[in-house]
Amino acid sequence: MQMPLPDAGVLSRKARIVARLSSVLSKDAVIHDEAETRAYECDGLTAYRCPPLAVVLPSSTEEVAAVLRICHDEGVPVVPRGSGTSLAGGALPTADSVVIGVARMNEVIETDYENRTIRVQTGRTNLSVTGAVEADGFFYAPDPSSQLACAIAGNIGMNSGGAHCLKYGVTTNNLLGVTLVLMDGTVIEIGGAHMDAGGYDWLAVICGSEGQLGIVTEAVLRLVPKPEGVRPVLIGYRSDEVAGACVSDIIRAGVLPVAIEFMDRPCIRATEDYCKAGYPDCEALLIVEVEGSPEEIDAQLAVIRRIAERHDPVEFREAKDADEAARIWLGRKSAFGAMGQMGDYMCLDGTIPVSELPFVLKRIGELSKEFGLDVANVFHAGDGNMHPLILFDANKPGDLETCEELGAEILKLCVEVGGCLTGEHGVGVEKRDLMDVQFAPADLEAQMRVKDVFDPAWLLNPAKVFPLLVSASRRERLGLAA
């Protein structure tokens, strides 16, 4: 993976830039010591690292605007950062960049139950949004597995999803308004508690723009009333194909579970060794969760059981109480940890049409043999969002490169069958150079035009999302301007 050469002019002006930043922020909010900036050298994609020129931790929208005005003026690239859990390298710095971290901005500004909304500063973690309202019977629906750590800022940056978005949608479906600071320091209010856009749907392009259009400092989020109850079932099958067919039949039957999760044998084994969730010994396992009143849950589960049994399951296990429900989810929730125990892994995130599930799993198995690296699969089956985990050994020369090649092959496969490169993790630097597999030049050009509108100098997170070659002329324009 390549990054553009840092701007020598910016590097040489470090002292002045730091001094200007320090003049608008409190002393402890500017980090420029080389050892200290190392804490920000990477995000969740730890294979790539680069300490930034400086890191700032503003505590208000006004401070963010002041910092951006300085960076704009100095021609310094800016990398927005929430909690730094991105798996795509979306928050990876360059040596000439200022990282703007919003972690200190984590207040709830207003909870409004009458309109079922909450306004928060975006440094607030995903889980603590729900934490602020659950006692009153509400929750914030998008639930990435990283929800304890990740911030609303990054959720908006990546348009993150979670296990329960089959029913409740992803971030973009739950975002009603933002305070956005443009690269030149202009502060804009977009949306609010009303339900549709008055002009263009700005929220739609901002959500998932990976910090390339502006810095989001506040967000109005939709709150959802907690259901009366939820209950998961676990269904084991003898083959991936059969499990895939079962998923499709459940959806077709008219029940809409809140979640349908899928784990294949390598993943089941790894989690069993790791946390002993008591999963059956089988090729493929589904966790299906439904919600509602007890009667409703019974009725939905009866339909699901009927469908599941048509496919001759190894086991159909219904949670009888909260404890059993937790055990059903235990293995799924520990899957990433379990894989981490086994060594280094790379987590992919392609989406495929649900109907292609069996074919794609078979092809991944073949590719895994071909490249000589194990792949385990755990994913959101209801919406076709796959998470193949490729195991490799970072200490073995060449293994990371082989892993990247295999990853690229799997993602190309996702695109070939009608899917996409990334369902929820974002493009970042990781999938940047594969974008032209999915998009024609005109498709990318149209997207870059939107960036031109918001950030004409291409200073915000400039080396992400678009293949370097494709964005070169625009990024170089910036060099000339500076």
Binding site: Y113, E114, N115, R116, M158, N159, G161, L166, G169, V170, T172, N173, I188, G192, A193, H194, D196, A197, G198, G199, Y200, D201, W202, A204, V205, C207, P225, E228, I251, R252, G254, V255, S293, E296, A299, T351, V354, S355, D383, G384, N385, G418, G419, C420, L421, T422, G423, G426, V427, K431, M435, Q438, F439, A442, D443, A446, Q447, V450, F454, V465
Partner: protein
């Protein structure tokens, strides 16, 4: 009138246009700008429908009725319930799916299942240069690149002419019922709707028609029976009636199409606001106004006498007012705050540098 029969011809028509184009699907929504008529009705047909994956892809000129019929055959639906503007506007023609997406037309189930933009998975369009662009795709989760699909949704053809749309569809509920709370004025109605929508009983419609509050519940029969009781039980002091099955369905079709306001003379405004502001806004309407409130208070339809400048009467509020029928004062769409208006202008200049696609429609 230009009536291309495929995407290539459409791209050619836009590229070679020498003046403004009035882009239309069925022309039923009264939203196109002035110029040579460019109809997408020739680009028609469902190109992919996978009930097991809840996805449907159709060319933009496909009639909504064709899509709804195909979905009904598989017990599925467009969950966002697009309104039919014909009764209200007195227009003729066949509403198309492209028009629905271009105008982000969503009905009562908006409060629970989201708007058209929420189920839009991908688009193909022709920009103002005549270039074909695709964005998004046919899968439910997709964050690959910027979301231009949703940007096109509601842009009313000013950034590009849609040629194909891909949508997430949902199972059709087995049955429905409506809890009717009689004789509530707007303040009490708004609190009742807020309480119902905040309950765990999955209320999928909450409207007020100037006296009665209607709360819709949908799903499996046993579950609907249970929840209608629970929802009615939230309001022990109000007498509740229940409408079931087709009676309930017909009522919501009428609310969806703002039928109560159709047929009578006057201007029709559509106000999108914070639900809790509904009482203040409704009380602020000129005397004699006819009102329909949907989305639990978040959507106010008002029929007022011709030429009323409702934006001025209502003053500042969190939301926007669109003039849907009538000539009135100023632009149809609510003017945006200055920094957004500036971005909008730059965006149009990028996608339609000659300013030929439905000029003036979005400001």
């Amino acid at each position: 009138m230009l009536r291309p029969s495929n995407e290539g011809e459409l791209a050619e028509a836009v590229a070679s246009a020498s003046g403004p184009l009035s882009v239309r699907g069925g022309g039923t929504r009264g939203m196109a700008g002035d110029g040579d008529a460019l109809s997408v009705a020739g680009l028609s047909g469902i190109t992919l429908y996978e009930p097991g994956a809840l996805t449907l892809v159709a060319r933009s000129g496909t009639p909504v009725t064709e899509i709804e019929a195909a979905l009904a055959a598989e017990n599925q639906m467009l969950a966002f319930e697009p309104m039919d503007h014909r009764p209200l506007l007195g227009t003729k023609g066949e509403p198309t799916i492209g028009g629905v997406v271009a105008a982000n037309v969503s009905g009562p189930r908006r409060v629970q299942a989201g708007a058209a933009r929420d189920v839009l998975l991908g688009v193909r369009f022709v920009d103002g240069r005549g270039t074909v662009v695709k964005n998004g795709g046919r899968v439910m989760k997709n964050v690959t690149g910027y979301d231009l699909a949703r940007l096109m949704c509601g842009a009313r053809g000013t950034l590009g002419v849609l040629t194909e749309v891909s949508l997430k569809v949902l199972p059709r509920p087995e049955t429905q019922a409506t809890v009717v709370l009689g004789g509530l004025e707007i303040a009490d109605a708004a609190s009742a709707m807020a309480a119902a929508l905040a309950s765990p009983f999955s209320v999928s419609g909450a409207a007020w028609t100037g006296g009665d509050v209607f709360l819709r519940i949908e799903g499996m029969a046993a579950s609907v029976a249970y929840r209608e009781g629970r929802v009615a039980g939230l309001f022990p002091k109000v007498e509740a009636r229940i409408l079931r099955g087709e009676k309930s369905a017909a009522l919501w079709r009428g609310i969806r199409d703002a039928e109560a306001l159709a047929g009578a003379p006057g201007d029709v405004w559509r106000i999108s606001a914070k639900a809790s502001e509904a009482p203040r806004l409704v009380k602020g309407l000129p005397g004699g106004a006819k009102v329909l409130v949907d989305w639990g208070g978040g959507l106010i339809w008002a029929l007022v006498s011709e030429g009323t400048d409702l934006r001025r009467t209502l003053g500042a509020f969190d939301g926007h007012a669109t003039l849907v029928r009538g000539e009135g004062h100023g632009p149809r769409m609510h003017p945006e705050a200055a920094p957004l208006a500036a971005l909008a202008k730059r965006l149009r200049a990028e996608f339609d540098p000659r300013g030929i696609l439905n000029p003036g429609v979005m400001g």
